[in-house]
Amino acid sequence: MLEITDLNVHFGVIHAIKGISIKVNEGEIVTLIGANGAGKTTTLRTVSGLKKLSSGTITLNGMDITHSSAQDRVKMGISHVPEGRRIFSTMTVLENLELGAYLRRDKSEIAKDLSMVYERFPILADRKKQAAGTLSGGEQQMLAMGRALMSRPKLLCLDEPSMGLAPLLVQEIFDIIRDINEKGTTILLVEQNASMALQIANRAYVMETGSITLTGTGAELMQSDDIKKAYLGG
């Protein structure tokens, strides 16, 4: 579905992403794990068009989207849940969700998706009139995910959904991710919480300072000694 080939990204003179290639098949959960500053977030932002690449190609279902704008990519079905949630904090929960469907004009279908999101995250339905900034961290994460689902994505890019959440909530968020995937949305997940990510991922890529050092199925990497040492704590 998504194919990144020989991607290079620079921040000024800093070569942040050094020729990586990633493939995500339809229906999969693929995760990118690695330490701080490895380039995971940058890779994800390049996929959703928030960051310009220096060289390489990105294709979605065989279509070249390397130079498409972020809006066009949302239209084509890529949705991005940014790191740190980044909800519109003075707007209400409902307004946040409506903005998720900003590029859509099919009102009746939007209404359907809205009730689907409320069903998945009942807490959002309870708080729909509340300013989004007053939600707790976990609720904000749910809102950010709900907002991304409102564009009816084929590929959902999640950037550190577990960041700053209590362990119980992390489990809940990952259950939801798995459930979204089972309902037919392909997922590209960037995580520092390697053990959680590997548990739900079909395949995983390990990034270190801008390169991919290891790849395999989630189960394989869980067993790998290197991974255990570096990311799983023994």
Partner: protein, 323 residues
């Protein structure tokens, strides 16, 4: 058309017509003398300036210090045209030409500078306004530092009211539309706005150009009512004064801008009898109010009936609790 004017159309129309009629009556009966009329004109022009700057700074979150520059483009264009065509038609043509020219300059300046954020944008727009001022200072057609004298006053209460109400209605309906929602989302979080598919550059430039357009109108009215313009009137301090109104009323509140424009004009007019202390008291008042309401008079809320109901229920509850 209905969409452009928004909901509650009839209520608003009646309110606007009543306001217009009442003031017109007071003018005809002489209650509003020329001195009060000057203050009223200043208030109207400041409302246009503040509301249009609020669109750029308060709603879209782009910190601009160049509003006086756009205002001066409107003022000079309108004066130059009315000097050659001294009729009401000439004035309206000049006003529209001034607004369109200001909007064009807004687009030319906005496209490259709106990539900058925060303080960088403020400095860039400040520089732009200074460049415009220096150009007017050196052109022959603008008569340099001596300025232009326009001996016909075409702005009367009708035009003042028409353009002030028009600006407020158009901008507040823009804010309520999906475009306005997009602008607010950029202020809230530009990356998130991009992530949901909002073209942030497009909306930043749109807000900037719209703001410039209305500032041009305000400038035209200023030039036509107060007869005289010179480049010094549109310096850095003027931009700051407009920003003060916006911040004072509340970033992101149109009714806040309107209330602040009225209040500040009344304060500075009432202090005119003590010129030595005028600016000192004015500044002290601003500092006091900003200390106690840093979010501005209205914050980002709008004055509405439901807000009154909320207040009254709050007061009611408080009284009930004490009893």
């Amino acid at each position: 058309m209905q969409k452009l004017l928004g909901s509650n159309f009839l209520k608003k129309a009646i309110f606007l017509a009543a306001t217009f009629g009442l003031v017109q009556l007071l003018i005809v009966t002489g209650v509003i003398n020329p001195f009060i009329m000057d203050t009223l004109t200043t208030i109207c022009i400041n409302i246009i300036l503040a509301v249009s700057l609020n669109l750029i700074t308060g709603f879209t979150g782009q910190f601009s210090l160049g509003h006086a520059g756009f205002m001066s483009i409107g003022a000079y264009t309108c004066t130059i045209i009315t000097l050659r065509v001294p009729t009401t038609l000439g004035f309206i043509t000049g006003l529209l030409a001034g607004a369109i020219l200001a909007a064009l300059v807004g687009a030319v300046v906005g496209l490259p500078t709106l990539r900058l954020r925060g303080d960088y944008l403020a400095i860039a727009t400040l520089g732009m306004a200074e460049i415009i001022r220096i150009i007017f200072l050196n052109l022959d057609i603008t008569n340099g530092a001596a300025g232009l004298f326009n001996n016909n006053q075409y702005v009367n209460w009708f035009w003042l009211f028409l353009f002030t109400a028009g600006t407020v209605v158009l901008i507040s309906n823009f804010i309520k539309s999906s475009h306005g929602r997009a602008c607010i989302s950029i202020r809230e979080d530009e990356i998130a706005a991009e992530a949901v598919g909002i073209n942030s550059t497009k909306y930043k430039v749109t807000a900037f150009v719209m703001g410039a357009f209305f500032a041009g109108i305000a400038g035209s009215m200023h030039s036509s009512y107060f007869y005289f313009i010179k480049p010094d009137l549109f310096g850095f301090l003027k931009s700051i004064n407009i920003l003060v109104i916006v911040v004072f009323g509340g970033l992101g509140s149109i009714s806040g801008s309107i209330i602040a424009a009225i209040l500040l004009a009344l304060i500075s007019t009432s202090l005119q009898s003590i010129p030595e202390l005028q600016m000192v008291i004015y500044a002290a008042m601003l500092i006091t109010i900003m200390l106690f309401r840093p979010q501005g008079l209205m914050g980002s809320k709008e004055l509405s009936l439901s807000l009154f109901k909320k207040w009254s229920s709050l007061i009611h509850r408080k009284n009930g609790g004490e009893a």
